[in-house]
Every structure is written in C-alpha cells, then in structure tokens.
C-alpha cells in the first residue's frame, strides 16, 4: 500500500472488504494498480472503507478516483461517474461512527475544511457475491481490465 502524500497529481482510492468476496473488488484493484502504476505521479491507497482522514489526503491532489463494488449493477458491469461534491450526508454517514462515507460526502469535507475540490470520479463494479470469502467471482474478475483502462483514460485525460 502506498502511503500518503506527495505532490502526485492523481490519487486512486480502491476500497471494500477483501474478506467479503466481491465487496473487496476496489481493494484488490488498488493492489493491482499499486503493482503497475501508470507513472510516479499517481498515489494508490487500498482501504476497507472511506474514512474522514481521506478528506485531508484528497486535498493534496488534482484528480481523485474512487473504485468500489456496487449492488445496483449487473455482476461485472462497470460504471464511471463524475462526482459532484456536496449535498446532505446520508443517514448512515451521520451515525457518529464514521464507518460509512460516500465519495461525494468525503469530497464535500475536502472542499469545506481544506478549501480544495479536486476533480473526482467514482468507478463502481457490480458484484455477484458479498458472502464471506477472499476471492472475486469469475464474472466480476473480468471487470479488472476495463477498470484499469478507465483509470488510465481518466489520468491521460487530466
């Protein structure tokens, strides 16, 4: 895992629980990206969940890409959205325990607390199984290449 923070332009945060099968897609994607970073101008972080300290970390970058698993997509389907920071936090985010945070809310903190709003994207991949397990379903594994390509495209575009 890369540790924070230098003058790199791009931050990639892959997150999810690697002990919950496809939920760990983002975490595994970050591991792969760490092993073959497009260039040294990129920092990669693998996390089990988003936490408030990442708001400070994100303030040091021009581009932030989040990678996560999703339940509302077909297994292996990839979606890439530009993140608009702000809006009201979802109820689970205000439970006081900081175990649930969306990329949008995280970046809203970045803007509010650190007066900085990087360009940001949220790449999500449909999961098939979220049961206990350390492997990614075969169908979902096919999404690794498209996700890597998407990340490369976003970095080049920036």
């Amino acid at each position: 895992m890369s540790s924070v923070v230098g003058m790199a332009r791009t931050l990639i945060v892959g997150y999810g629980n690697p002990l919950r099968s496809d939920d760990g897609f983002g975490w595994h994607a970050a591991q792969r990206l760490s092993a073959c970073r497009p260039d040294s101008d990129v920092e990669v972080i693998a996390r089990q969940q988003l936490t408030p300290d990442l708001a400070e970390t994100a303030s040091h970058f021009q581009l932030v890409i989040f990678i996560d698993a999703a339940r509302d997509l077909s297994p292996g389907e990839v979606r890439c959205e530009r993140i608009a920071a702000g809006g009201n936090p979802r109820p689970a985010e205000t439970s006081g325990f900081s175990h649930f945070l969306t990329p949008a809310s995280l970046l809203a903190w970045t803007a509010e607390l650190y007066a900085d709003l990087p360009e940001a994207y949220y790449i999500s991949v449909g999961g098939e199984s979220f049961a206990e397990g350390e492997t990614i379903s075969p169908t979902v594994q096919t999404a690794f290449e498209p996700v890597m390509a998407q990340v490369r495209a976003l970095i080049i575009q920036k």
């Binding site: 540790s3 629980n17 089990q48 969940q49 408030p52 300290d53 400070e56 936090p89 689970a92 509010e112």
Partner: protein, 481 residues
C-alpha cells in the same frame, strides 16, 4: 438478540443476523408516579472470542485477538502478546518493549481523537439540546471547521504511526510473542518525529478550547455520573502514568489508595465478573467490596485520578490542573473528556521521548522460545481502561481456556448508574425529548464504550431508548440510527 438453532444437517442457523456493530439499548423503568426508578444499558451483541479461540495454537492469539476491535486492536495485541510472553517465559528485548509502547501510544492517541472529536464534539460544539439532525461531525464541520480539521489530523497522525510500524492501520500483526516482528527504520522514525510539533499544537489548542466551553456544561458536570466509586488503573511503581506495564492501583472516591501495586496476573483475586440476564456485557467489580458495592471506573478519568505524575512536561501541568477540580478524586464522568485530552498530550510528548531514545533503531527486537508455562496473563491500559488477557494452554501449545476482561466491562456498573443519574435528573415527563435522549447517550459517550468491535458491514451504531411503565409496558421508544 438472535435465536440460534442447529439443524440436523449441521447447518447452524442464526436468525436474525443482527448488525452487531455497537448495538445497544437503554431501558428506563418508571414508578407509579412516572418517575424514573431504574435504568439499564443493554449490550445485545455476542462475540464469543473466549470460546472460539479454544484449540488454536497460542502464537495465533495476538492476531486473533486484534480482530476483537477495529478501534483498539493494538491494545488487544499488546495484552495478548504479553500473555504469550509469559507462556514463553521470555524477557523481550528492551527496544521491542519501547516499540510496543510507541505502538500503544499511537493507538491511544487516535482512539482518543475518535472519541473526543468524532463522537463527543457534536455535543460540545453544538450543545446537548442542538438540532439532532446536525448532531454529528458534519455539523461540527459547519459550525467549527477548525475543531473538525484538528480531529481528523490528530486521528490521522496516530493511525499513520500504526501504519508505518505495523504495515496497516487496522488489525496490524506487528506485535508478536517475544517482541515485535520488525525493527523501526530511520525513515519511519524521522517521519513520525516530523509530525510531533503540529500535533502538540493541535492538542494544546483543543485543551484551551475545551476549557473555554466547559463551564457551559455545569449542569452536565453535576449530573453525568457524578457519584462516589472506586477507580482502577495500572500505574508505574512510583505512581506515574503508564499504558504498558506496572501494578494495579485502586483508589476510593476520596482519592485514598485502597490497594496498590497489585499483580495483574492475580486479577481473579480482586476482580469479580457478574453476568446479568439482560446484557452480554459482563459487570466487573472489586471483590473485597462485593457486587455491586465494588463498583469502580477505569479509563482516562481513573488514570488521571490515580496518577501522581505523567512524566512529561505539558501533560504534568494539565494533570495538576485536573487534580484542582476536586479535593477528593474527580468524580463526574463528564471530566473523562478533560482526562482524555491530557492523555492525548501525554501520548504526543511520550512518543517524542521514545522515538529519540538512542536504542530505538536497534535491530534486536524479538526473543524466541518454545512454551515454558501453561498459563499466562497479559495486562495493559487500553484507551478505555485496564485490559486483561488470560490464557491456559496444553503441552502442545494449544489454547485450552481464555478469559478477557475488557475496559467497557469494568465500567459497566458505572455506566448503568450514570444513565440512571442522568435519567432521574433530566426525564421529567413520560415523553422523551431529543435533548433528554442526547444526554443519556452523551453520558455513555464519556466512557467511550467499545461495543463496536470489528464488524464493519452495516456501519451504523444504533441506540434504542425505551420508556417502560410500572407494569412493564413500553410507553415510548426512540431509535437513533
């Protein structure tokens, strides 16, 4: 609470699988006149670590035990490794002990930051009667962004130390029986030291800010767990503050020493554990006084009441101020907040002392041995209080029996009494109000209970408050997701 049944196919069905991330509920019991006459804090989750570790090799215990908690895994690592050190009958290298202390201090720092800034600062910044929809860290960020920034940075600093030493922030396995697995590198040492000045300023600023708002909470100071009790902590032989090693000291409400330098390994001789039918959290008590007269408190409030010095300059100045709050022991649980901040100051100062120790980069950080004893007890001060791990193994090194006495259990009786005190003072009608609910929660928060051990799936810490009439009927119920 789940019904558990076993099918003939040996499939174990747990139904429902509740999201047990810190789930608890509070019941308030009213008399015929509608006044609160009893209150209970129910912990409805069941973990079972003491049972499912049986049969495992002892050397797996630190890593297994770290999974108990996502917030204070390092304390479990330390207590577990110390118990395993006893099983090996080894003396760990001096540098390994110092590195374990650094690891522990970093964890106390990040945990205290979580408690003060993330969980309790909404009460302090927005007020106990603040808009419930804003009563969270997002609301703090709107009202006082500097406090929010400081909370994030302080916790980040502690977690980054843990990550630098242990390889990851949560559940690192760097502490092992006999020492630690890897020495500290100069790069990591220097990087941590570079963050000390900024962190000291943050803690100093937070202490000043807290003292500036404290008087607004005079009524809470008077009613938040403000009662006589014993206090317990591990201290150095000279009565100084420590989180790693020492004897167990107990003082009474007057601040007089009841027992000192007790051997942690002999805790069953002076600590009893009672199980109540309405909670999975055991209630610990001081045996010589019996249940429940032997009520005591642990954690920052107890440590500050017991310690006669911290051993670092700025923390000692704050400790002197703390002791001026009351001629006896400081009794109100509201002062957990102040005590927690003093400890945060101590952690930062002590980290600097340890990191500049000439031996800290030594490569000799682990002792090796086979099991030489069949029983071991490890104890340390976790962020929330004294922690005991007690293991028995067989001749093959397999775990036969485990007992864990965790800080929140030590505080269980005190938390229940605190809820009752707050409810009696603030609940004046049959109808619950948001301000009343928040105060009942807030007094629990002062103890920083660790109900939320290591399960992260739902990410919601639910709290349920029930108002129960004299016939046992539920008059009102409020749930906070």
């Amino acid at each position: 609470m789940s019904d558990v049944s076993e099918k003939t196919t040996k499939t174990i069905l747990i139904d429902p699988v509740t999201r047990i991330e810190g789930h608890s509920k509070i019941t308030l019991h009213l008399d015929e006149q509608g006044r609160v006459e009893d209150a209970r804090f129910h912990v409805t989750q069941f973990r079972g670590f003491e049972k499912f570790c049986e049969g495992r090799p002892f050397y797996e215990m630190p890593s297994l035990m770290a999974r108990i908690c996502g917030i204070c895994p390092v304390s479990h690592l330390i207590a577990s490794a110390k118990a395993c050190d006893q099983l090996l009958a080894v003396r760990i290298p001096p540098t390994a002990e110092k590195l374990r202390r650094i690891f522990g201090l970093a964890q106390v720092l990040q945990s205290h930051a979580l408690s003060f800034f993330h969980l309790s600062s909404p009460d302090l910044v927005l007020g106990m009667d603040g808009d419930p929809s804003k009563q969270h860290l997002f609301g703090v960020a709107e009202k006082n962004p500097e406090i929010a920034r400081h909370g994030i940075r302080l916790r980040q600093f502690g977690q980054q130390i843990i990550e630098r030493l242990g390889g990851k922030r949560i559940h690192p396995a760097w502490i092992v029986p006999g020492g630690v697995s890897e020495p500290l590198t100069q790069v990591n040492r220097d990087a941590i030291l570079a963050g000390i000045p900024e962190t000291l300023k943050i803690v100093e600023h937070t202490l000043d800010w807290f003292k500036s708002v404290r008087e607004k909470f005079r009524e809470e100071i008077t009613t938040f767990g403000n009662f006589p009790s014993l206090f317990m902590a591990i201290t150095k032989p000279d009565g100084g503050l420590t989180f790693y090693d020492g004897g167990v000291t107990i003082v009474d409400a007057a601040g007089d020493v009841v027992a000192s330098n007790l051997d942690a390994a002999h805790y069953p001789e002076y600590i009893g554990e009672k199980v109540e039918s309405w909670s999975y959290l055991k209630s610990a008590y001081y045996k010589p006084k019996g249940y429940a007269e032997g009520i005591y408190r642990v954690g920052p409030l107890a440590r500050m009441n017991i310690a006669n010095h911290c051993g670092t300059q700025r923390a000692d100045q704050e400790l002197a101020e703390f002791h001026e709050l009351q001629r006896t022991a400081v009794l109100s649980s509201f002062h957990f907040h102040f005590a927690r901040l003093i400890e945060a100051m101590y952690c930062v100062e002590r980290l600097e002392q340890l990191l500049t120790d000439p031996e800290i980069l030594s490569k000799h950080v682990r002792s090796f041995a086979r099991p030489n004893c069949v029983e071991g007890v490890g104890a340390c001060e976790a962020p929330r209080g004294t922690l005991f791990h007690h293991y028995k193994i067989n001749e093959h090194g397999l775990i036969q029996w485990v007992n864990l006495v965790i800080a929140t259990g030590h505080n269980n009786l005190a938390m229940n009494r605190s809820i009752l005190q707050v409810a009696k003072h603030f609940v004046v009608a049959e109808r619950l109000t948001p301000g009343m609910l928040n105060r009942v929660e807030a007094v629990i928060r002062t103890y920083d209970p660790c109900l939320s051990c290591s399960t992260h799936a739902a990410g919601e810490m639910a709290l349920q408050v029930q108002l129960i009439g004299p016939q046992g009927e539920v008059l009102d119920e409020v749930r906070r997701p």
